[in-house]
Structures are given as structure tokens and as C-alpha cells.
Symmetry: C2
Subunit: 804 residues, 2 copies
Amino acid sequence: MIIRRHPVLLFAVAALTCSGWLAKAEPRLSDYVRPFVGAQGEGNTFPGPSAPFGMMQLGPDTDTRNWDTDSGYEYTDPTILGFSLTHLSGTGCPDLGDFPFVPQVGPPAFVPGTKDHPENGYQSTFSHADEAASVGYYKVKLQKSGVTTELTAGARAGILRFTFPASDEASIMTDLSRVIDGGRWHVAESRVRVEDASTITGFHLVNGWAKERYLYFAARFSRPFDDGVIIKDGEPVIYHSYVNYRFRSRDEAVGTNLQFLAKYKTHADEVIQVKVAVSAVSAANALQNLDAEIPGWDFEKVKEATRREWDTELSRLQIEGSQEQKETFYTSLYHTFLTPNVYQDVNGEYRGFDQNIRQAKGFTKYTVFSLWDTFRAEHPLLSLIQARRDSDMINSLLAHYDQSADHLLPMWELQGNETWCMIGYHAAPVIADGFLNGVRGFDAEHAYEAIKATAMNPHYDGLASYRKLGWVPCDEEDESLSKTLEYAYDDWSIAQMAKALGKQADYDEFMKRAASYKNLFDSSIGWMRAKDSKGAWRPDFDAHLFGGGVDLKGTTEISRAQYSWVTPPMVPTVTALVSAGCIGGVTNLADVTEATSSQYSWFVPQDVPGLIALMGGKEKFVEKLDSLFDAKQSEKFSKELSANDLRGCIGEYWHGNEPSHHVIYLYCYAGQPWKAAERLHQVITTQYGNEPGSLCGNDDCGQMSAWYLFTCLGFYPVCPASNQYVIGAPQVPKATMHLSNGKTLTMTAENLSDRNIYVQSVRVNGKEWDSVFLPYGELKDGGSIAFNMGPLPNKGWGTGGAGQ
Amino acid sequence: MIIRRHPVLLFAVAALTCSGWLAKAEPRLSDYVRPFVGAQGEGNTFPGPSAPFGMMQLGPDTDTRNWDTDSGYEYTDPTILGFSLTHLSGTGCPDLGDFPFVPQVGPPAFVPGTKDHPENGYQSTFSHADEAASVGYYKVKLQKSGVTTELTAGARAGILRFTFPASDEASIMTDLSRVIDGGRWHVAESRVRVEDASTITGFHLVNGWAKERYLYFAARFSRPFDDGVIIKDGEPVIYHSYVNYRFRSRDEAVGTNLQFLAKYKTHADEVIQVKVAVSAVSAANALQNLDAEIPGWDFEKVKEATRREWDTELSRLQIEGSQEQKETFYTSLYHTFLTPNVYQDVNGEYRGFDQNIRQAKGFTKYTVFSLWDTFRAEHPLLSLIQARRDSDMINSLLAHYDQSADHLLPMWELQGNETWCMIGYHAAPVIADGFLNGVRGFDAEHAYEAIKATAMNPHYDGLASYRKLGWVPCDEEDESLSKTLEYAYDDWSIAQMAKALGKQADYDEFMKRAASYKNLFDSSIGWMRAKDSKGAWRPDFDAHLFGGGVDLKGTTEISRAQYSWVTPPMVPTVTALVSAGCIGGVTNLADVTEATSSQYSWFVPQDVPGLIALMGGKEKFVEKLDSLFDAKQSEKFSKELSANDLRGCIGEYWHGNEPSHHVIYLYCYAGQPWKAAERLHQVITTQYGNEPGSLCGNDDCGQMSAWYLFTCLGFYPVCPASNQYVIGAPQVPKATMHLSNGKTLTMTAENLSDRNIYVQSVRVNGKEWDSVFLPYGELKDGGSIAFNMGPLPNKGWGTGGAGQ
């Protein structure tokens, strides 16, 4: 992993670290990060310590079966189960949570118990008063045992520091049988092995969201176990001739439902540390990662190294503003740098998509590609300020393609697996946008071949019919409306790369495909509408209901075969929604993906003028946009889904999910940027913040946060791969962006205040700037964007819209 | 894998191959091998093609759930299930049988059906008239489909050649869900992947006898599939939006119960070949093994290369004799060279005991160590004529030790796993015997450390009590009588190596332990007897009943928890035996391992004079030996166990299992070698041969066959690591042994005939030889052993016994 450091900033960080007076005078950037932001409700962020883009995420788990704890942690939960080694951050699907470590005092429990009755298992109540989280650090006191647990982590390794009370029966249990499974996943195999008197290694193979996930760990304990016992099915694994018939090792076991118990007698306040590391390749690699990254036992040193790394990373994008603004901003930046995650051992080996072990040649292998989300703003941000990593990520996408039996780029990649989650082929805009924004270090011709092969795949998700008809037919394919719109945009991004590489014929073909969105606009209802293979509109289609409001299966009962994503805790909610007749599928399994047509119809970022034309011109377009924000949601829907507000709803605009993310900026295309300014300010001030509950939807591996960052800066990549940003309205008075090429871009927003939210004028690199469009070319060598803000719209600025 | 070739012999083989007239005049050695020998009944040998010590054993499977088909094949079975890639040969426990390929015509079946009703599945009847097996080759015509299948194999790769009738519905199915499981094993995970239009790879992880066994395969088909379909749970894995919700690859699947179906339209007599290879490391390595070993499609070339390799290997030990003798002899030699098996890919990688992937440095890694059997004669034979391989095998044992969480050498190693099958620590005599017989190429000091650590292990099978008390106490440990005797011998072998390395204190300690056998001799009954931790003899002990006749659990019902080895098909037999009161466990789970005390009491190879003394002198010793052969078995036992004769019973002497193997030679220690001559001749002529049913017990990875070879030569390693053989009576007129050091040893038996079975005189290297003991020193540089045989005992020869 190569980190591009700014020498000057490094010096500044070093100065901050070394001089107490300076530290007091000016907090370190990492001090502004609030790891709990998003940990309450649907944000699903991960609050534990992690290195930037780290492979290991040590953290507390409060639940494993609730889909609000996809990251392992929900702020409102009363109990903690243990501290596992890996976590997702902000996803809408659970997985990972591998190898929890559980300190206990007294007779050890091997089952979790329940939140209501933690006394029936190993989970313990805790209080937020006894809890703390900062960059590279997490701490909590477990009330049942009195054990204080502190965590810190580097890239592939971390330390758990347990402070025990005096006890003859203290223990640390490691559970190989449990993952964050949402009630559905399955540990197919595991093994644990006592390597020496204070070291264990382990492994499990999980059939989870990632359907075939191998993970290994190594753990070195600071004190040899008084006794180390392997537990299977709740019982110690022992050798006794009469019981076991033939010899059975007490230092190694294989199978399912395995745990390891390190037993100790402790004195009061005795500290026992456990160094841990993971690898997707082997136990030997996990040990190598551990010993290479944390040779000693200095918890503070590891924590400080990680903080320092974060200070460097966070310095890439700095702002001025209030404490709350800084906390919100740097926490958002922190979230955008949590994923994708390094997925490669210190010796360079990684586990490929075909499960073969490989050396990444010339790049660092990354995992966790939530591309349906992150193509929008996360990757465009990385391409500006983390170009080297973005290049590595693109190489990682290409490695996946090279190893794909289906010759497809990733859709939603997780630890060497394809989850087939969500729709589209958004690796295309990620690669095209990176390439067009000057990200290099990958084979562009090979990348283009991969993009094109993916877009031409004859089997993937209705692509064949789409190519033939110009739309994905709703009688053949679920989510056909959303797929059509997203394919069309992805195709447009491919065309841009084709053009840059001089492939005119491909450009022409993909540009033609990019216009496919037009085939689904039903002017009779004014919205996009699903169409069948014969060209007939979907009957009974409702543009304002989830999924199009169509019950495709002709049933109002939940069939688990159809609704395979519905886990037991969700059944009552989903059943209620289906009974109320408002969904064919609460999020998917209909014509529209996790949205209404009134939300999705705006997804034509590649040709907003074309969409404006379809909708009847700029005036009607703005009216329709207004109607989205002003809409009263279907009563049926609001009544049933009480957690609605958590999703960031403003009328039918739902900021909590990605289909809405670019929508506000569309006002700018229609010549009314002040309406964008109003809505942007509303979202920034009501749906982000520095509290655990501040995120209104899944952070989605940084996408929600990246939206915040761009919006604060005053511009947003509405159409990645267009080399063009759309100017909205800045939300912080000053920002400095250190571009990957070493240049610096400065944004200032003069007179900005809670009242002065409207752009009066803009100067870009000293030039008067009357357009709402900001080409990449104006940013790439650094420079300045100077906003002048005021309390009323300047209806003379930026009104040219998409026509200009 | 390095094969030591004799240049002259290679030339001879080449000449035989190239000149038809010579081939007619003198068959190749490989022509004498009858692969079906031992395939009927309990021999459990593997009849398919295999390279010497090959990693892959392509072969037919007639059953997977019957313990008489531990090798996959039982000669009397009426049907064939398919042709899998790996097999054990001669074991008494089933495993392997990975990735069967099944040709079918008509609608394909995905379940096996039954022997009685093969029409309900993919199995097919066949006739031995349509079947053939020779070295490197197997052929059979399946009656149901009319498909002729031919197999050939190299070290890590092989070819299946299918000749189809004309059909619109021909197919080749590969089953990833099935192994030879005896009804107990479990495929925990599998994956299959279509690499291109004519190539697949696959993997499964099996919880079997080897509890955590990873195996990968690659297969290239000579013709692209007309269609290639992955099957899960009997249904094609397809993508259909309404069925699968989100995209599902048709070229890759993960989970359990997976099969792959290659579909073809064939014309009459169309040949489709499938090249296959295995790896324990990865699919990539399996492909590399395949392409490196079989780059083309020449079936005959692979077959001939393997035959040539066998001709070279078989030439190490040649005899004169009748056709039947040659067939029996070379088949036996073939069996001794089938295992252990190479367990390393062409790129040098192998999967270690700790599941880490490693490079074997300076040696070839082997697997399948049936050490309780093979320490007796198999490894002593290899040390003489396969020293380089024996060195590699010792290095393989040491690698296992280095990777063992328990710091133990292997007991019964199988594909990187410890099965904990059988008792003792017989890696010790294997290593000590090799070292003392001049096998080099391993670190002797490290080897000794490994042996000693194993023998000092505080946890293994009653060792702690054995060290404290001098015996394994029967109130603490099953099989305590057998364990005590075997530990004592193993300890003696350790002492010999200690002495050779100048470790006098260790020598003294282990020689003291070697005398432990005396603690279990109960002079009141004249046999070894189990003793408890207080020193009291086991009550109700019967030296003539299996296991000591003691039902340790106080029950005559079979408890599956106790009798965990009892599979459903065995329950009626075992229940009958238990009800008859004749066993505590039919084979184990009592004081004596798979035997009676009257069989086991002779296991003091390290101190036969001491045993003679305990038994009251040579005369009584011989009387007791006679009584063994003349005994009438317990009526109860004979009545219940009707397959008795298959085990090679002569009274209570059971040649079908290893505890009896050295017993006949004990006559020689007591001054009556002619009695040995009689019994040896009886066993050789009644319990070996060239027919499928000729083996009376499990071949046990070559041990039964190695006994035959040594016995034919006229001497046997009664006490490996003693550097001394015991002269019995030769069974072939002439033998030539090419020692590993390039020297040649010639054995001649003048006047040998079916009547002239008694040794009249012996000359060793030209010297008159009146002793029954033949030191290794007399053989090691080659030379001659000249027997003169006659029709009556020469009671003046070799009568000094152990006293001389």
C-alpha cells in the first residue's frame, strides 16, 4: 500500500504530534472525526478503529441478526456481544464480523444470550458513558464483567487491550462460528489451532452475502494462557479414550461451531493484550501480517501511527468552518476513506475471484466495491484526491474481470466474491471517469476491453433484450425500468472512453445505446414507465409507489422464494406493506429499484437536455422537480413505513438512497440554480451532522458522505465521465483541496451564512464564471473558485442551464 | 519427483518397446501385473491406472457406501457408478473417490440409483467380459449407455477416453458432491467453474476420514461442449430474473450438491476425451499440472509412458518362476509401489498439515502413510530398493511433524490430514530403520528430535501413564494391551537411532521403555493381558477372543457414540457379534487392537529371546506357536463371522491382518525354522495369487504385498531398525534385487519345488551360513544368497535360534 504523502503536510502533522502547545492551540484533523456518526439507525457505519482503507476493522458488535447492524453496531442497542475483526461500513446488507473476541469473568458462556436476557449468554450491557471512539481507537467497559476493552488497528493488524478485574476465572473467548449474518449466512467450515502457549490461528469459510468467503486470523496474547481450550458445540474438545475412541488433539480442531477459550487468573486491573491480524490467503500470511505490522506490544504506538496516517489522509481536503461543520466534514471525509479496503497481505499475496492465490503485480489489491453507490461521488472524489489508490482500485476491478468466469467486471464485489447485489455495470463509469480525469497506472486498452465485454455480455440481467429492443423488457426482467436507465448511462460513459481511445465505431454504438432512456418515457403520465417485450406499457403502473406499485407476482403474500432478501425480522414490516397494496416488493422485485419512478425518472445524467425536452421544456421540468419535493407521499406508504423520516425524505425526494443523489442539481440544468441552493442547504443542514443518528440512510461505503463533501465545496459530479461538475452552492466558507498531482485548489464562499445561501457570483481561477458547469480542465491544475454568497437568489447568475 | 533409473534396464525396456519380435519373445515386466488382484473381497486394492506412487488414481467406482469398496471397486459388484480421480488402495477405511466422471446417453440422471435398480440413476451394469485392466490402463463398456470408457494416468494427470454411440443426448457428468464415504463423510463446500468452452475446474472440501481435505481438479474436454450446464440439487443453475431475483452465473457455482454436465450430440463411435488433473493447492495448480504433464491428446502416449515408468520400477526386483508366480510377484511389487503417493504439484507447491501452502525444499512431498501397517515390511522394502523415495517420505513425515500443532509425527496421514487411525508411533521405526539402512537425504538430528518428541508427548494415547507405570492402563485407555506392546517396540527402534547418533542417555531410557512388554505378560494364562492403573489384571479376560473378549462398556447393545466407526451396513454384523458375547468391539474398543491376545502376544520383535523366556523356553514357545495355528476358533466367533476365511485364518493365525505378519518367522528364533518353512509355504500358496479374490485381507497400502515379496526372497524384516533379517524359506527359484546404491543382490533357491520347501543349506556371498539371521551388512553391497532346498527339514541347519 503506497500512500502519497504531501511533504509539507507531513511536516505539519509531525509538528502537531510533537508539540503539545501546538496540539492544544490547533486540534489535529483526526480530532474532528466522530466515529459514531451514522452508527444509529440506517447509516450503518462502523465506529471501530480502522486504518485508511484498512483491511482490518476491529470493532464492537451489538447484534448480528438485525439489518440495522450491518456494520455490527447499532448505537441504540443495550448490549455488546464481542469485538470482531472485520466490518462493513454503511452497507444495506450484513456480512463480515469475523472472529469476535469476548472477554468474560466467571463461568464462560459460549452462546450469546439475548438483549433482554444477556445473563443467558456472553453478551453484556454497556453504557455510552463508559464508551469512547476516536480515530484509531475504541473503548468500552462491559458492565457484566467489569472488563474494559480498548481497540486500535493498523492496516491488517490490531490490538485488543483488555483490563480485567481480579478473578480466578477470567477468559477471552474467540468465536469462529459467528458472523454478522442477518439470520441467513452459514459458516461451512472452520479450524482453530494453538500455535504455541500464547498464539492461535484460525480460519473459516463463510457462505454469506459473499457466497464463498475464506478468512484466516492470527492472534498473539500478551500472556500465555493459563489454559487454552478448544470448544466445539459448547463443550471442550478433549481427548479421552472412552469418549473419543481414538486420539483427538486438544490443540487443533476442524468443523463447525468452534470457539477457543483462553483462560486466566487475573489480578485487579490486569491488562491482557491480544494482537490480531487477518488474511484471506492463509493462517501463515495472517501471522506474517501480524508480526510485520505490529512487532511489539505498544498499543499507543499503533494507535498514534494510525492517527498520523489519518491526519495525512484527511489533510487532502481541509475546510474552515464551525466546530460542528468541521466534525461533520472530516467525519464524512473519514467515511469516504474507510472503503474500498486493502485486500492483500504484506507479502503481496491475495485471494483472487477464482479463489486462486495470486501476487498483485504493480498495484495494491482492494475489495468492497459498492459500485451502484460509489460511482456517483465516491470514486469521482477519489480520482481527484486519491488518484493512486483509484488507479489501484481500477486495477483491482480489472483483476476481478480477468478472473471472472462470466467475463464481467464487478457489480458489488466483497472479499473476492461477486454478490450480484444491485444493478447496472457501474465499474464502467468508475473506470471511464478515472481515465478521463487523468488517473493512470492501469492498462487503458485492457480496461476498455473489460468495460465493453461487460456491456456486451449476452447473459447478464436482460442485456441481450436491451441491446435488441432498446429497453429491458418488464415481462422478462425485474427492475427493468431502473436497469434500462442505468445501462443507458453506463453506455454513455463507455462511449466517452471509446472516444478518448479513438474507437469511433464503438463510440457511435454506445452513444446510440445511451439514448435508450427515451424508450421508457411515457409522455401520457410524464414519467418513466416499464415496457414489455412487445412494446406495451406496464398496466397499473404508479409512478409514485415503490417499485412502480405493481405486484408482479399477483400475490399480496410474501413468498420467501420471491423475496429471498427478506429476513425473519423484516417479515412483519414487509407483509404489512404488501397487504397495504403499495408495493410489489418493498425495495426491489418490481420495475423500479429501491425507489419510485418519480425518483428514478431523473436518472439521465448523460443527457439532461434530452430529458428536459421529453418532459416538456425547462419550465415543466422545474415544475416536476418541485412536485417531487412538494409531494405528499402515498398515505398508505407513510402510514406503514414509520421509519420513513430516517430515509431523508423531502416529499418524494429521498436523500437516504442513491437514486436521488444527483436530482437537486438538475435545477441547475434548467436555469434555476437557486432552487438547487435551497434544497442543498436543506439537506446539508437537516440530514447530516455530527451525531450518531445524523445519517439518514446507509452511508454506502462513503457515497452519502462523498455527496456531502462535494456539496460543501459547491460543485458535484452529476455525470461522472463527463469531465464536468455542476455548480450548486457551497456550504463551508473555505476549502482547500490537495489534488493528487500535487496542485492545490482553493474554494472560498464569501459572505456565506445560514441566510446567505444563494450564489451571487463566481470567479474561477480569477475569471468571472456565469455557467453552472465547471469543467475538470479548470480544476486539474489547482487554482481557485471564489463564490460570493447572498441572502436572495441572483436570478442573473447561472440561468443559462443546460442550454448554455 | 525423481526416479532413479537403471540405464541398462531403461535400454532394455526401450528395446522391448521398439521391437515387436522381442516383445513377443519376452513380455515386459508390466505385462505380469494383474490390477484386479485384491479387488474382490477384503483386499480393497485399486484396479485403475496409476503411475508409480502417483498423485492421481483414475478408476471405476462400483460403490461408495460399502466398506468393501474402500478403493471404490469391488469385483463382484454388478454396476459402475462412474470414474473418479483419486483412490486409496487396500485400506480398511474409505475415502477419496473425488470428482467422478459419468458418461451417459439419453436423459441424464443426477442421482446414482441402486445396484438393484440402476435404471433409477446414472449407474450402469457392466460385464467383466467387457472389462480389462493392465498397467496404466483400464477399460469397460457400460451396458446401459453402450459407452466404452478407457482410462490412463500419469503422476498428476490422466485421460478418460469415452467412445459414444450416435446420440442427440450424450453427456459427461462430473459430480462434485460425491466421495467414497462409507455413509459417513460430508462435502462441506464445493465450487465448479467453466473456464472456457471446453475446460472446467472444480474444488471440494471434504470432512471425511481425512477431516479437512481440500482437493481441486481441472478437466479439458477434447471437444467443446455443445452445452455446459451446472447442476445444483438436481436442477440446472440458470439465471432467470423471476426465479433468481438477481443475476446468477451459469458458468460458476458454489455450495454443496453440485454437478457439471457437458452435453453433446455424438455420431456413432465418436470418441470424446477428457484430460484431468488434481491438486491439493488450487484450481490454477491443477490446470498447471494438467498442461505440464499432458500437453497433447495422445492417450496411447500417456499410457505407454506410464507403462515404461512401471517397467523401470518393477525391474528393481526381478524373479524367475512360473507365469502365476510372476503375475503374483510383480502384482505384489506393483502394490508396494502404488503408495505412499506424491502430494505436490509440478510447481513444487503442496498443502501442509496446517493447511498453509508450501514449497517442498529439496524433497518430494508424499502422502498416505498407513504406518501401523507399512512400518513392518513396506518401508523396509522401500529402504532397500527405493531409498531416494524413502528419504523423501521421511522428509514428508518430518514436514508433517514440523506443521503439527501437537508436535507429533504422523500416525495415519491422509492428504495433509491426521486421521488418528490405529495406534503406536510407527513413524519412529520407519525413520530409524531407514537411517540405519543407509537412507540419507534428511536431517538425522531433526528426525531424531521428532521421534523423541513424539514418544515423549504428554497427551497422546496413554503415553503419560505408560511412561509412569510401564504399561498403558486398561482403566484409562482402550486398546491398552496393544498400545503397550507397540510403544515398547517403537521405543526400542528409537533407542537404536539414539545409539547411532551417540545419545547414550536416550538410548538407555528408551531401552528401558522397550522392556515394558514384560509388564503385561501374565504367566498364569501364558499370554499378554491388560492391566489397570493399580496393577491389577483385567478380569474376565479371554486371550482367544477379539479385543480380549471384554465388553468394556457393560453393554451388549451397540451404542453409536461408542462405536463411532460402525456404519449402517455393518450394524447387523456387529450387533450379532456383540450379542454372541464374543466381542467388546469387533475390531477395536477393547484391550486388543483388531485381534486376540493370542495373536498380539507375539508382538515383541525387539526381544524375542526375552519373550521366549517369559513363555517358558524355546520348547514351550514353539508349542504355543503351534497352538496358534492349530487352534479351533471360538465357535461363537466362527459362526457369526462367516467371512472369516477371507481374513486368511489358519487357526487363530490371521494372515489378513498385520499383527500376525511376523509371527511365523518366530519359529526361527526358537530353533525350528522348518516349521516356519511349512507355514510360509502354506500362506504363500493359499493366501496369495493372481486372481481378484487372492488377497485375504486389506492390502494396506502395500504391506500385505511386501510380506509376500520378502517371503519369496527367503528373508523378512521381523524387527525393522535391527539391521537384521530373519531367514525363512524362499518361494521362487531366483530373484535379483537392484539395491538403491546400484549394487545387485541375487537370491537362488536350488531344487525349490512344491515338495522341496525346506532349507537344506545357505551360502551368503559364498560363505556357508548356518544362522537364521541375515545382517543388513551382508546385503548392502549386493552379492548372493544361495539356498539349497529339499523335501525334508534339515534339522541340522539354522537350529541355533535366537541364542546363536
